[in-house]
Structures are given as C-alpha cells and as structure tokens.
C-alpha cells in the first residue's frame, strides 16, 4: 500500500541475515560472459541467414541457465543491444536503396527481421515466460517490434521518406496510374503490426489531411464545370474508389475516416449549391423524372449531416408551390374530375420518386403527405370535387374495369380523402351524390359502392357511414315492399301504370322539404293504394311524396303515329299527362293544374320544349326562355332515331352558387351539435378546464371529421352556459366548470 513496504521488509531481513547460509552458485566467474557470447553469436548467425548450423537445444538450455542463475538482466540487455545493432545495419541498407527500390528493400528487411525475431523468441522462450513478467520487461516479440519502430520506421532518414513515398503512390493511383498494391499492403501491414498508434500517427493522419486537400481542390473544379447529375456521378465514383482502396491495402478502421473526408469535401461543403444548381438541380430532376440521379443524390446526401433534410426541404417547397398552383388554377377548377385526376397524378409521380429513388424513406413520405394536406385544403371546394370525382367514376368511369383496378382507384381517392380537413363536408356531398346515383339507378357497381363505404368506415368510424349505409338498406327494403305490394294488389290494379316507390328514411337522405305536386288522377289513385298498403303493414309511420326526385317512363304516340317511350322526371310526367286531355295549355294553366314550384316548372318546361331533338312539346312564342304568358302544344312532328328517348332536366352538375351556400350552411348547422357533444364529453370527465385547453381538446376530438373553428367552439360554450351545462368559475373567469 505504500512504497516503504519493500524497504522495511528488506530492513527486517537484513537483521536476520546469517552469512554462512548464503550459497555461491556461480562457480565459473566467466560463465555468464561465455554463455552470452554463444547466444550473441547465434543471434548474429540468425540475422545473417546462417541459422542451419545452430543447435536449438543448446541455445535454449543456455538461455535457461542464464535465467536460472540470475543472469536474466544480462541476457535481456544483451539481447536489446545486439538486436539494436543488427537493426541499425538494416537501416543503413534501406536508406541507401534508390527511388522505387526503397519500399521493396524495407519490405524485404521487415520479412527478414520477423523471421529472425521468431527464432530468437523460440530460443529465449524461458526468459519470456519467467524473467520478463516478474521484472516488468517487454516480451521478446514486442521488444523486436519496438526496436524496429525506433531504429527503422522512426529513424530520421526513413520516417519522412516512407510517408512521402506512400502518399505519392496513393496520389498516383488517384490520378489513374497502376501501382504495386501488394507492396503497399505489406508496408501498411507493417505499420499496423507496430501498433495502432504507429499506423495512425505515421500514416493515417497525414493521409487524411492530404486526401482532404486533394478532394477540396477536385470538388471545386468539378462544381465549376459539371451539372448536378455528373457531379454526383463523379463523387460516387471517388467514394467507391476510396472504399476499394481501404479493402485492398489499408486498415479496415480507416474506411469510416476516409469516406467521411470525401463526404465532407465533395458533398457536405457543396450541398446547397448542388441542390439549387440551375437547370440541373433537384427541382429539375423532379420535373424530368430523373430517378437514377435522384437516387444517387439520396444515397450520397444521406451520408452527411443534414443531407436528407436539405433534399426534403427543397422537395417539400417545390411540391407545395406546384400544388398550390394546381388547386388555385381557375381553369382547372372548372372540371372537378380533371382537378382530382391531376392531384392523383401528382401523388403517383411523387410516390414513384420516393419508392424508386428515395428508398421509401418514411420521412419523405411524411413530407409528401403534409404537403398534400397543406395545399388540398387551400381550396375549400376540394371535398366537393373529390366526391364528384368518385361520382363520375362510379357512374361510368369504372365500366369494363377489373375489380382490382377499381380498388386501386378507390384507394387513391381515400388517400386524398385523408388529407381533407373538412371530412364532414365531403360526407355531405357524398351523400347527395350517392342519393342521386341510387335513385336514378345510375350506379355501375354495387360492390364498388359498398367497398368505398367500408373504406370510409375504417377511416372515420361507424358514425360517419351509418347514414350512407341506411341509404343502401332503404333501397333494398323498397324493393321488397314493392314486391309485397304487387303480390297483394296486383290483381285489382289491372292495367293501370306500374308504380315503383322508394321509401326513404327521413334523415338518411339529403331531402328538402318540398311541396308535393298534383299527380295525374290515375297516378294519385295508385299512390293512395300504396299509401294505405304501406301504412297497413307499418304502423306509426308517415309517408310524404318527394315528387321532385322521381322518374317516369311514358308511352307516347305522335301525329304521324310515331311511337316512343319517353324517360322523364315525375314533374315532366305530370306536365305531359295534362296533354292527354288538351291540345293547348298556357303556362298559367299548367302551373295551376300541377302546382309544381315555378322555378322547377320552368326548368321542366324548358327541357321539354326548348332542347333540340328532344322537344316533345312545342311552345309559342318560340324562344329559349319560358315566359309566364307562353302557350304549349304537343309537338306532333317530333321524331327521333331511338324508340326510347331520355329527356333530361336542365341541371348544373356542379353546384350553383346559392346551392353551395346552402350546403355550407347545412354543414355548419350539423357541426353545432357535434361540437357541443364534444365539449360536454370532455367537461364530464375533466370537471374543470380552462378555455384554451377546451379548444385544443375539442379540436383534437373532432379532427377526424373536420377542423373546428375556435370562434364557433366559443359560441357553443356560451350556448352551453346559457343552458346550464357549464358555468364560469367565480374566481378565475377563464375556467369553466361542468354542472352535473
């Protein structure tokens, strides 16, 4: 525990020393010197490649005896000076080697020294085992390496020359010359054998410095004259060359170091310049679909700090700009289907870029998603357009398309749907469009319809789709009801018109409260029969007729006996039926007889009398608009190539401005109870909460449906306070309390 311990121990021993017991082992005083001479001579013979005449057993025994008789120290120091002498001789011959022979001579001597060292170690094995550990000496093999290091590698005439030779050879290889890699490997291996510190200090550090200079200059040259793609190709090649160099003749641990030098000099230092390079930078690569270049950029940039975030930022801002242009382009907004198709194309493009060039990087996918979310919501009509796109696809777009492809289209639409903030607006439109499809029997594939409903359900939950599903159920039950009606009453109805009623559950459908028009007598009698049948089987229900939504097929015979089947709306049917009993009817008379709301009536008459080729009525005076004073006749000259004639109603596919506002208003109305419900749910569990936290929580809860407006939330809170669901805290006005 302290350094006195040994001396005090010796002190103690000395007190008990008895001279007579001290043995004198060494009889021959010349013995150590004689024995050492034999060993020294042997070492010399070994270095002179003349070992075959030596007796191993004799030399081993001599070394053993020296150690045994306490001459280990003499043996060891003798070894050091003898080996040092031979190494100095070697050093001279290495120094005199000319030019390219220098490395070869060094390598040859290194091999010689290693062989000699092995033999010397064998002879002195006993010293290695017993004398060296107890006396804090360096083992023979390590000693041999250390002496080589000090006398050769670190000798003033070799050290710099060796380093310069190595660096020059590497430079020559970089400039395209072929060098002796085997010799390089041997010399580098020698430095590594001398210990990691020698390799690092005598070679690796200067090598890295020189390489940094080299690549700094080269990258500057390249960036002045190459475009981005070429530059990246060159950088990639250099990087691979260095990795290959390490595998051929450097220490494996150098790979990370040299690649980081190349990365820093060739990529990190020029990152921004490369990305923004005019006509060939990242944006151009994206525009021109240069997947290979993009992939190369990704793989190189990922190696340096902030590399990927640089690419990502540029891509995001480019994507946002183009997206913003797209959704605010007035031309595009005219065609909703085209609008959505453009969005889908854009997404497909970037999906491909990310999957084929950016290694499906999650962070890039996130950037893509957030960009889409950003610009899709810039246009408030996006929900409507997406629904219209689906409507278009489900009406006709998917005809002759395989089931898998339908799924793919629907999945893509769902992708866009996910970006929407106002999912409830989408729901509103979707409901309207679905209703039209169902009632007019225009839907192409029931499977596709249901598949989309399932997707919406998994995305937004049961609540979101319950009404949509209700619509499908209504359609099914209506079919059954009609079947029941005709089985019961079929006989007594005789040859009266065929009635098809679709019973729609109030609330599930986007119905408007409308005035029922006057149906023709034969129809209203039939309807009455149905009403009594229906109310007879279902008690406690109320039926009202949505005459504005129905259709009818009429058989008509015109002047020269030409027969046609006319496919018309219920309103149009009511009008046409009037002409069974009259040749001429004025607008006023029609309005009186049918009681159709005037705006609807005008549209209806317009489509009957003013559309060329479908004008089954004739109007006086002939003009495009309907006037209150107009008179109508059956157009006896009506002809058509087809037996069946569909007479459409003049409607805008897209919503008109007032309609749009109405939808908007309805959406806002619907949101109120949802916001209130959310507030109550939150307050019920939290009891007391301050204003800001309520806003955050409510927004979070409703996120999957729409982005709640803080002002609206505030209004709802106030309304709830009025109705005694909540109260303000007396002490802190910002706090709200839940009243049970």
């Amino acid at each position: 525990m302290n350094s006195n311990s040994n001396s005090s121990n010796n002190q103690k021993k000395r007190n008990f020393q008895i001279e007579a017991f001290k043995h004198k082992v060494v009889v021959d005083p010349k013995y150590p010197e004689k024995t050492w001479k034999i060993l020294e001579h042997a070492i010399q013979e070994i270095y002179n490649h003349n070992a075959s005449g030596l007796s191993f057993e004799e030399l081993y025994r001599n070394a053993y005896n020296m150690v045994l008789h306490k001459f280990g120290e003499k043996l060891y120091t003798g070894l050091v000076s003898s080996m040092t002498y031979h190494l100095k001789e070697m050093s001279k011959s290495i120094e005199t080697a000319q030019g390219g022979l220098f490395l070869e001579e060094l390598n040859r001597k290194w091999i010689d020294h290693n062989k000699a060292l092995q033999m010397i170690r064998d002879i002195l094995m006993y010293m290695d085992r017993t004398f060296i550990p107890g006396n804090h000496k360096t083992p023979v093999h390590e000693l041999g390496l250390n002496l080589w290091r000090d006398n050769i590698v670190h000798s003033s005439k070799v050290q710099t020359r060796l380093l310069n030779t190595l660096l020059e050879l590497i430079l020559r290889e970089r400039t395209g010359e072929v060098i002796n890699r085997g010799l390089m490997r041997n010399i580098i291996k020698m430095l590594m054998d001398l210990g990691p510190l020698v390799y690092q200090e005598d070679f690796e550090k200067p090598f890295l410095e020189v390489s940094a200079d080299f690549y700094r200059v080269e990258s500057q040259k390249f960036i002045e004259c190459c475009d981005c793609g070429d530059y990246l190709k060159k950088a990639e090649r250099r990087l691979n060359e260095e990795i290959e160099r390490v595998s051929h003749y450097l220490d494996g641990k150098s790979e990370a170091k040299i690649t980081s030098v190349v990365e820093k000099e060739m990529i990190a230092n020029h990152m921004l310049r490369l990305v923004h390079m005019e006509n060939s930078g990242l944006v151009n690569m994206l525009l021109d679909d240069k997947y290979e270049d993009l992939g190369r950029m990704y793989n190189l940039f990922r190696r340096v700090p902030n590399g990927l975030s640089t690419i990502r930022d540029v891509m995001t801002s480019h994507l946002r700009d183009t997206g913003k242009q797209l959704v605010t382009d007035l031309e595009r907004v005219k065609d909703p289907v085209e609008f959505v198709q453009c969005l889908l194309n854009e997404r497909d493009k970037y999906d491909k870029v990310i999957s084929s060039a950016f290694n499906n990087d999650k962070t890039f996918q996130n950037a893509l998603n957030s960009s889409f979310e950003f610009f899709i919501n810039l246009n408030p009509r996006s929900p409507e357009f997406i629904s219209l796109f689906v409507d278009d696809k489900l009406r006709k777009g998917l005809k002759g398309v395989s089931e898998e492809d339908v799924e793919i289209v629907l999945d893509k639409v769902m992708m866009l749907f996910r970006y929407l903030h106002e999912k409830d607006v989408f729901e509103k439109y979707y409901k309207q469009h679905l209703a039209k499809r169902l009632l007019s029997g225009k839907t192409v594939s029931d499977d596709a319809e249901r598949s989309l409903i399932v997707k919406l359900k998994t995305e937004c939950g049961y609540q979101f789709t319950s009404k949509l599903e209700g619509m499908f159920t209504d359609m099914k039950t209506s079919q059954d009801t009609m079947q029941g009606f005709y089985t019961n009453h079929g006989a007594e109805l005789g040859d009266s018109p065929t009635l098809v009623v679709q019973v729609l559950t109030t609330g599930s459908w986007p119905t408007q409260p409308t005035v029922t028009c006057n149906l023709p007598a034969e129809m209203s009698a039939l309807c009455e029969k149905f009403r009594s049948y229906y109310l007879g089987t279902h008690t406690g229900r109320r039926l009202s007729w949505q005459t504005n939504m129905g259709t009818a097929d009429l058989k008509a015979t015109f002047g020269k006996g030409q027969k046609h089947e006319l496919n018309v709306s219920t309103y149009q049917m009511c009008v046409l039926m009037l002409f069974n009993n009259a040749d001429r009817l004025s607008y006023k008379e029609i309005e009186q007889a049918t009681e159709i709301p005037s705006s609807d009536l005008k549209r209806c008459l317009q489509s009957l009398a003013c559309v060329k080729g479908k004008n089954v009525l004739r109007k006086e005076p002939m003009s495009k608009d309907i006037g209150e004073e107009d008179a109508f006749f059956v157009n006896e000259k009506f002809t058509s190539k087809f037996y069946k004639v569909k007479i459409g109603t003049v409607v805008a596919q897209k919503e008109s401005e007032p309609e749009k506002q109405e939808t908007r208003q309805r959406v806002e109305e619907d949101r109120k109870p949802q916001i209130e419900a959310a507030i109550v749910r939150i307050m019920k569990s939290r009891r007391v909460l301050d204003h800001n936290n309520i806003i955050t929580e409510v927004t979070k809860q409703l996120q999957s449906r729409f982005l709640a407006n803080p002002g609206e939330i505030k209004k709802r809170i106030e309304s709830l306070i009025e109705r005694d669901f909540l109260e303000r805290d007396n002490a802190d006005r910002r706090l709200y309390r839940y009243l049970a």
Binding site: M1, N2, S3, N4, S5, N6, S8, N9, A51, S52, G53, L54, S55, F56, E57, E58, Y60, R61, Y64, R121, D122, I123, M125, Y126, R129, T130, P133, G134
Partner: protein
C-alpha cells in the same frame, strides 16, 4: 499401414525416448517442443541430428506420459518440486497443473494438503486465485501461494489492518485496508502476486478532492469494475466503483440516511441483474442491512433489514440474527445463515419480505466450541457451501439438501473459506492452518 512418418527420437540425459511429433505437438506452440518444430511440426533444420536434451530422463518420462495420456502420475521417487522445475523448462507447467486435479465438484472433494501458517493471531480472509493459488490475509500481512503451494514474497501493508482481498487475474491481487489516522494511507491497492509489489493505489475523490478512506469488503464484476465499501474521514460512507483497466474511480453510491453501506461485510456482484448485493451484518452493526444496488439508476432496488423486527423472546434473538448472506440469481433469492448454521431464504423479486428459516441443525445448540467462528456462505455452480465450526457443509438441489460435509479437526474452527481455480481453501482460526480440497481427476472409464 505405412511407416509412421512423424517418428521422433530424443536422447534425454542419456536415455533414448521414441515418440511422435503428434504427441509432442500437444505441448503447444508456446513450449520447448513448439520452438523445436516448425509450423507443420517438422523438425527445424537447425536442430542437431541426435536431439540430445540435457535434462533429467525420469521426469521427462512422466511429462511425456502426460502428453501421451493427458494424465499425471508422479512416481514416489520423484519429488513434486523437481517435476515442476522440469515442466517449467519445457514450458509444460500449465499442462501439469490442469492434469493434477479435476473440475470442481463439491460432493467429490478430497483433502489434498494442509498448509501450516506461522502468523500469530486469527486470519482475516482466504481467497482462491483463478489458477489454483491462494492468498491468506491476517493482520497487516497477506501471504501469497501459487498453485504449487510455493509461498511468494508476502504483501506487507506497513502494519495496517487488511480487511479484504481478491484476485483480479492470476498475477494481480486487490487488497483493502484500514485508513491510518493522520497519514492518509489505507484504502485499496493493486499488488503483484508473484513479487508482492504495490502496483497501483486506488483513490477516492469527493468534490474533486482526493480523500483518504478505509476500504472494506470487495467485489469484482465481469465487466472489469471493482466495488468496495468505503468509509471516509468526513462521513463519506458508501460504495466506491473503479475501472480495472484505467484504475480510475468511476462512481460512488452514497449511503442513504438510516441505512448502512460503508461498513458492509460482504459485496457480491450479480451478473444477471446488473446489481450489487451489499450486506452489513451483526456484530459490525447492531442490526443487519441487506440491499441490492442498481448503479445505472443510482437506486436501491431491493432491501431488507431486521430493524424493528419483533423480539418475542430474548433467547431467540441470536437465532434470528443473520451472520452471512449470499444472493442466488438462479432462484432469485437470497440465502442467509444464523450462528447455528440454520439457513434462511428471502425472495429477491419482492421487497420487504421476511426470512423463511429452515431449521435444520437444532442439534448444534449447546455444542458450540469455546471459540466459535460465525458461519460463512459460498455459492459455486449451483452448490451452496456453508462453514460452521470445523466443517463445511455442501447443499444441493432445489431444496438445498445437505449432501456432503468436509471436516478436518486440526486447526480449530474455520474462520473463512473460498472456492476458485477448481479448488476449495479453508482457513482455520488457530495457527493459520489452511486446507486445500480438490476433486480428483476424472476416472479412467
């Protein structure tokens, strides 16, 4: 079959031996024979034709048989020491050592030798080295024996009391000692087993100041850490942690109020749970404190103490006092022992439980020797050992059934024992006698 190509003829001290290079190759590269042959075990061209080896032929015969069979038989006419010296010449000492005794099994142990010490007074500790040597601490001296039971220069601590010792490797011993007031000595040092020299002194630093301290119990972890219980002058009590390779203090777990760490009698590193068991026991303190420390989170993850345990009967008090403790990771439990060698168990998975005593040795009561030593526990490869009076009991199996008893009446009670290097060393309290127990080499069939 052809003629054996690798025949070797050796003349050892005048006697001719014929063997094969294959047999000699068993000696390995790092031996006389390894140097004599080249890498393909052909004779080196430099060696003379008749291969005279100027050594004792009788010993060579024994060693050649060792290479041939892997077993060691020393005829009675050859002194062991002479054989060892010859083995050292050929570089075969490790072969001899590993053939001398078999892999450790607590139920097959034989007393191999008893060594008589000469130190006055009681021994403190005996510690087995990794390759069959041991060290014995008493007072301020630590005697070191190699596996041949040759004594090496003793480690002298300048008359300070040694508290514990432990082997880091076959040539390095860490010793903990009491602080000497006013001198700044004491603490913990690393010594050479072969020469007894101090190689390194471990410091304790508090608030960037090196402090003198008393080091107590020691434990080493498999990831090269040294743990020691420490008592500093200015109440810096706790467990210090040092790195074996750098020698630097890397951590210090301060003793929480109302608990005891710095006075600990026993430390045990638990490899599986990455925790240190610390036990402070009667009579060093009036109460027993056993805890498990997690150094990564600086947390005491398990603890038990007998403070406030109800005492129904004064006579029962001694029975309930824990004298040694050992953690058994395989069963997630801690085994404790009282002074009558009753074993008790605690569950490591729940803290605050009580000891389940399994009264096994009530017969002991009333038969205590005049100078009893408190029982000690050790665990080795699923076998539990406990010392009591002059014998050591071996317990095995899931219920810790007593399976063997090692007894030797000479030298008085056993005050400490230690298992290592496939040997068990037991130190007796009187006259520093210690016994070496070995498992015989495996049977021939």
């Amino acid at each position: 079959m052809g003629i054996q190509k690798d025949r070797v003829r050796l003349n050892v001290g005048g006697r001719i031996f014929e063997t094969t290079a294959t047999t000699l190759a068993i000696a390995g590269r790092n031996s006389f024979f390894g140097a004599m042959f080249d890498d393909d075990w052909n004779l080196q061209p430099g060696t003379a034709t008749d291969h005279l080896i100027d050594r004792n032929p009788d010993c060579f015969a024994v060693l050649l048989d060792l290479l041939r069979t892997g077993e060691l038989y020393i005829p009675s006419n050859i002194p062991e020491k002479l054989l060892y010296r010859e083995a050292l010449f050929y570089g075969l000492l490790d072969h001899v050592r590993s053939a001398k005794w078999g892999p450790f099994d607590g139920n097959r142990l034989r007393l191999s030798r008893s060594m008589t010490g000469r130190a006055p007074g009681d021994g403190t500790a005996i510690r087995a080295g990794p390759d069959g040597g041991c060290c014995v601490a008493h007072g301020s001296m630590v005697h070191v024996y190699d596996w041949m039971l040759d004594e090496h220069p003793a480690i002298n601590l300048d008359y300070q009391r040694v508290n514990d010792a432990g082997w880091i490797d076959s040539d390095s011993i860490v010793i903990s000692a009491c602080e000497r007031l006013g001198r700044g000595d004491g603490g913990m040092g690393l010594f050479s087993a072969s020469t007894g020299e101090l190689r390194y002194k471990f410091n304790v630093t508090h608030d960037d100041q090196v402090k003198s301290y008393t080091a107590g119990a020691l434990s080493f972890s498999s990831d090269d850490k040294i743990f020691s219980s420490c008592k500093g002058r200015s109440n810096e009590y706790g467990i210090g942690v040092w790195d074996q390779t750098t020698g630097k203090q890397i951590d210090f777990f301060y003793e929480p109020p109302g608990w005891s760490l710095g006075d600990a009698d026993k430390l045990q590193w638990l490899h599986g749970t990455n925790c240190l068991l610390v036990a402070t026991l009667f009579p060093r303190k009036d109460n027993c404190y056993i805890s498990l420390l997690d150094f990564r989170e600086k947390k005491m993850v398990w603890s038990w103490s007998d403070i406030g345990a109800p005492v129904y009967d004064e006579r029962l008090l001694d029975e309930r006092r824990v004298r040694d403790a050992i953690a058994m990771e395989d069963t997630s439990s801690i085994c404790v022992v009282n002074e009558y060698e009753d074993l008790g168990f605690m569950d490591l998975r729940s803290t605050g439980g009580s000891v389940r005593w399994s009264s096994r040795s009530r017969l002991m009561k009333g038969k205590m020797p005049d100078e009893p030593c408190y029982p000690k526990l050790a665990l080795h490869e699923g076998q539990l050992f406990s010392s009591m009076n002059d014998s050591i009991s071996v317990f095995c199996g899931p219920d810790w059934v007593l399976t063997s008893r090692l007894r030797r009446s000479y030298g008085g009670s056993i005050c400490d024992f230690s298992i290592g290097g496939d040997r068990l060393f037991a130190l007796h309290s009187e006259e520093n006698v210690f016994d070496i127990w070995e498992t015989p080499p495996p049977p021939i069939m």
